[in-house]
Symmetry: C2
Subunit: 213 residues, 2 copies
Amino acid sequence: MKIGVLGTGVVGQTLGAKLVALGHDVMMGGRSATNDKVLAFVEKTGGKAGSFADAAAYGELLIHCTRGDTAIEVLRQAGGDNLAGKILVDISNPLDFSRGFPPSLSISNTDSLGELIQRELPKTHVVKTLNTVTAAIMVDPAMIHGQHSVFVSGNDKYAKGKVMDLLRSFGWQAIIDLGDITSARATEQMLPLWTRLYGVLGTGNFNFAILKA
Amino acid sequence: MKIGVLGTGVVGQTLGAKLVALGHDVMMGGRSATNDKVLAFVEKTGGKAGSFADAAAYGELLIHCTRGDTAIEVLRQAGGDNLAGKILVDISNPLDFSRGFPPSLSISNTDSLGELIQRELPKTHVVKTLNTVTAAIMVDPAMIHGQHSVFVSGNDKYAKGKVMDLLRSFGWQAIIDLGDITSARATEQMLPLWTRLYGVLGTGNFNFAILKA
């Protein structure tokens, strides 16, 4: 499948490399098509490089993994028309480090970044997922033994089904559909616990398992 | 140990009965000492009954388990002088059902109910815990197989140690000290996920396990 990755950080690089390895045609989009990190991705993986708009136009499915505080600006650069009718996997979190560590959230409780992005792109099927695990775990959940979970939120059932197929191809088994995009509030609000646990455990390579009685 | 339970709902009844069964001297406090639920507790368990102030004066350790929206009023009735120098285990969550289900939080992100209670009672050692599991699991974690976790937040290490001892006496093994009382933000913000999972799983008898790579 043609996949556009919007974001050149650790998450974008890790996901992009995994998608290339799985045989997808991947274009990484950055602020420009000649951005250093985009070119590093091309050199390392053999994937393609473009601007945010190039990658948005190229992909049948898009993955958004820029920082929460740049998300809306990046998606405007990507272009609503390029994203219309497509699935946008949103992995970003609205982390606000302006008060130091641990971060607070710039949007939470009665709204979420997932919902904000869905409102910004009403013709796009936004599916929030993978935002509760670190990049290494996203693409290799088998690093952690046991039935640990990833969550999916979105308004369109077909889009969620396609994203769940993609997650299964990464090795995810315990995928929990939390509901419509408003349920992104629930996973984004896990980040305060995630950052505390990162401090306590001394690693980001952990995840949550849901155990029933 | 003499323990005062502030709250007569399912959490208070369940915890009170468990504490009596473990051999503690328990007084349940309600709006009055002749409140129906308080008297039912006495009849069922052989524990003692009192007002919030009676229970606060009686207990060497106190457990607060009223609803988040009544917490401060209840603690004022209990009386700051009765609570001074003591450990107050806070199990409440700031759930706001005014917009329906799932609830939002009445305080979150850059503050928490745990912190609000600590500010209200500066001479009391507030320890937030157990607020991420349903009452049945609180007192019988062995209902769920595996190393699922309970979290502890508080400013005073000795107080947290005493509360962890109490948790171990309930059967808790994987107890995670998240840090000072500001880390109550993290566990209170798990409630949006908890309520979504309650809907998806069709039961509240579940918990989170933290699995490391």
